[in-house]
């Protein structure tokens, strides 16, 4: 009996400790969270045309940097390159800010990062504007149209939706992307394997680990033409999705400013020339 009692007291003590620790952490996180967001929110509510950035004078961008030709780190390292990168630099220029990229982020962590705030101002990683994402964060106006593409080995036999929508087929996707959603919705019988980045998915298809991968068409085309020449885009999936830049809901001023700058870049032909540079034609 005594032993039981003591055990019970021990368990209670543990629970109390755990709760105290949890609350302490909670207190800390909510404290820091609110302090960092209030500056943004207060200035935003005062005047939506003004905005704050994490570091003054800088526009910090979160991106997965593994999605050529939109964003990638060149072989051998160095500064990120790509359509999105040039675009962000141009936009930052319009706003009078210096564009700075965080090291490569996991794609599925970018929206939460921007939502949480304090680390980066915007997420620009070929984000398709969706209503679900809009519940979490704000999007700027779209800056490019896109579609999905399904890639298989060049000599693969299973290259249609019907042939791939079979139990046992493995479809690699990038975690958190519209490509992942498409695969889950349209290939429900196959196993959808979410990976950290598209390059990994392509490598997996190349080695035969997966039967196909699904991601944004421009990227799939680019990778098939350049790095993964033994793979091909087997299905071009018309989705007509549009890319937007991810901004925190607490920073509407920044969204507005970016939209203005975006319009200017559209009007002065910068975006067309960037498309020419990275895709060989205007989209």
């Amino acid at each position: 009996m005594k032993r039981e009692d003591r055990r019970f007291i021990g368990i209670v003590a543990c629970i109390v400790c755990a709760l105290t620790a949890a609350l302490a952490i909670a207190g800390c996180s909510s404290g820091s969270g609110s302090s960092s967001t209030t500056t943004a929110a207060s200035s935003a509510s005062a005047d939506t045309s003004s905005y704050t950035t994490v570091e003054s004078g800088k526009l910090i961008v979160a991106s997965d940097l593994a999605y050529p030709p939109l964003e990638s780190v060149p072989d051998g390292g160095g500064d990120p390159v790509g359509f999105d990168v040039d675009l962000m630099n141009a936009l930052a220029g319009k706003l009078g800010l210096t564009c700075e990229y965080l090291p490569a982020q996991k794609f599925d962590s970018i929206v939460p990062t921007i939502k949480q705030g304090g680390k980066a101002d915007v997420g620009c990683s070929s984000f398709t504007i969706t209503d679900e994402r809009k519940e979490e964060i704000d999007f700027t106006d779209s800056y490019m149209d896109s579609n999905q593409g399904l890639v298989t080995k060049s000599d693969a036999t299973a290259t249609t939706v019907d042939a791939l929508n079979v139990a046992g087929k493995q479809i690699a996707v990038q975690s958190g992307t519209t490509g992942e959603e498409w695969a889950q919705e349209n290939l429900p019988n196959a196993t959808v394997v979410p990976l950290d980045d598209a390059i990994q998915a392509m490598t997996g298809v190349q080695t035969g680990l997966y039967d196909a991968c699904v991601a944004d068409l421009p990227v799939m085309k680019y990778l098939c033409n350049n790095s993964y020449t033994d793979l091909k885009v087997s299905i071009e999936i018309p989705t007509g999705e549009q890319y937007g830049i991810v901004v925190s809901k607490d920073n509407p001023g920044l969204t507005a400013a970016l939209n203005t700058a975006l319009q200017e870049l559209k009007d002065d032909g910068t975006i067309d020339s960037l498309e020419e540079k990275w895709f060989g034609s205007t989209m």
């Binding site: 003590a13 679900e132 975690s175 919705e185 429900p188 035969g208 997966y210 018309p238 989705t239 007509g240």
Partner: protein, 479 residues
């Protein structure tokens, strides 16, 4: 059972209806607008099903055939479904090129009207993504029907391929119930608690992570005996007289211990298919885990065997026992006792390391929780995964502690004595109990002490392999 039957009936009627409509509608008028597909986003927490009565996203695609322009599309779902509260994203495509078309949408119960600002030209693909709509609660196979307007007037849309909707599950109902509780709302309003311990997600995570947990367990449970055998083999090889054999073992052990498991997983999973070896992912996972563990076990076993004092070999030899007999009857039994804590710790490590397999697509615990976190944007699935890991590791850590304590006790001579037969006096050796008390500081098995003991156990286990002063075979009374 009854629900099942009803679903079947609904499915049958739907199929019959659909068949009927195609037969009736097709010959009457040439279709000017076809429906290419209709799919719904899985909204089962952690599953791949579409649940009725819960918000989901409907994607409907139709093509405008030759000869007509379309100005308006109306979609209809069965009565209990609703478009109310949904938002619709309208995309019109010419091939892969997006056309700029404005559209106005209007929802009313189970119908959705999409009014295009300009007529959609022939050959265009109309894509409607309706977010936050609900299918009927009962579930079944539902086709999307509707009408469209063109210059020729209003015509019926062909039914879409049907979408399988499952009835609301008890789990989903429990989640819905939790959604309505005020304490849950209060709990979730705390940023930390809501992000790490959201009750609804915790519940669904437990259910949907279960499969992944089983995969983890099966992988490590199948892999470990293999690892033990391999480890023993390499331990003996490393102690072999033959130089080449020793070199092979040393190379094997050092390479595996000197590289990250993550890298080994990558090499095996991406390398083997490249040379044409295609093995099932789970089997390959077992192989990688077994091979990796075997290197660590080999070292543990070798250290364990070498920690047995030479006196034991000499005593066995003086009885005339040969090498194999000595190893099997004398050395290994003692080694096993000594290495149990370290091996258990290694097992715990292996079990946790199965999480690395998620990076190559093995559908284990980490993979499931990663997916859930991606979908929910919440950390709770990871916490549920942590609990699943702890369910296994905490008892094992506790076991390690108990075994170590018992071992310390028996090696120091403080263990329980069997009843002496006859009228013998208890062994009159005053040093024995004194030694026992030194070694068994933690014989009290109360809760707090036990937990702390369990948490620190893996860090103490290394001592079990170091030789104790039992070369005397027990109590060194001459000290």
């Amino acid at each position: 059972m009854r629900a099942c039957g009803r679903a079947l009936i609904v499915a049958l009627t739907c199929t019959l209806l659909a068949l009927g409509i195609t037969f009736v509608a097709a010959p009457i008028s040439a279709q000017a607008m076809t429906c290419d597909k209709a799919t719904a986003r899985p909204n089962e927490d952690g599953g791949s099903g579409v649940i009725g009565g819960e918000t989901t996203r409907l994607t409907w695609e139709g093509t405008v055939e030759s000869g007509e322009d379309v100005t308006k599309v109306t979609l209809t779902i069965p009565d209990d479904g609703t478009f109310d509260g949904s938002t619709t994203r309208v995309t019109v495509l010419d091939g892969l090129t997006r056309m700029s078309v404005e559209a106005e949408t209007k929802t009313s119960g189970n119908t959705l009207e999409v009014d295009f600002s300009q007529a959609i030209p022939e050959g265009s693909l109309v894509r409607l993504e309706v977010t936050n709509m609900c299918f009927p609660v009962e579930g079944g196979d539902y086709a999307i029907s509707g009408t469209y307007e063109s210059q020729a007037g209003t015509s019926a849309l062909p039914d879409s391929p049907s979408i399988s909707v499952i009835a609301n599950t008890p789990l989903q109902r429990a989640v819905t119930w939790l959604d309505g509780q005020s304490w849950v709302q209060a709990w979730n309003s705390n940023q930390f608690l809501g992000m790490f311990f959201k009750p609804q997600l915790l519940l669904t995570s437990f259910v949907s992570l279960f499969g992944g947990w089983l995969v983890c367990l099966v992988i490590v449970i199948v892999a470990y005996p293999i690892a033990i055998l391999l480890g023993l083999a390499f331990a003996f090889m490393k102690m072999a007289k033959h130089k080449v054999v020793r070199a092979i073992a040393v190379t094997y052990i050092n390479i595996l211990r000197g590289t990250p498991l993550f890298l080994q997983i990558y090499i095996m999973f991406f390398g083997l298919p490249m040379v044409g070896v295609n093995i099932d992912n789970n089997v390959l996972g077992v192989i990688v885990m077994a091979v990796n563990s075997s290197a660590y076990l080999a070292e543990i076993f070798r250290a364990g065997i070498q920690s047995i004092p030479t006196g034991q070999y000499e005593a066995a030899a003086s009885l005339g026992m040969n090498g194999a007999q000595t190893m099997v009857s004398i050395i290994l039994p003692q080694t096993v006792r000594r290495v149990i804590p370290t091996v258990t710790s290694d097992f715990i490590t292996s079990y946790k390391d199965t999480s690395l397999l998620s990076s190559v697509g093995v559908m284990e615990l980490m993979m499931f929780s990663k997916n859930l976190t991606t979908v929910s944007g919440n950390i709770t699935p990871y916490m549920a995964a942590a609990i699943y890991y702890l369910i296994v590791t905490l008892p094992l850590i506790k076991v390690v502690g108990i075994v170590e304590r018992r071992m310390a006790r028996s090696e120091s001579g403080g263990g329980p004595r069997p009843k002496a037969k006859g009228s013998a006096t208890p062994a009159a050796d005053p040093s024995t109990p004194a030694m026992a008390s030194v070694h068994c500081e933690a014989t009290e098995d109360d809760g707090v002490h036990g937990v702390i003991g369990a948490l620190t156990a893996p860090f103490r286990s290394a001592s079990s392999v170091t030789p104790r002063h039992d070369e005397m075979g027990g109590v060194p009374d001459a000290l």
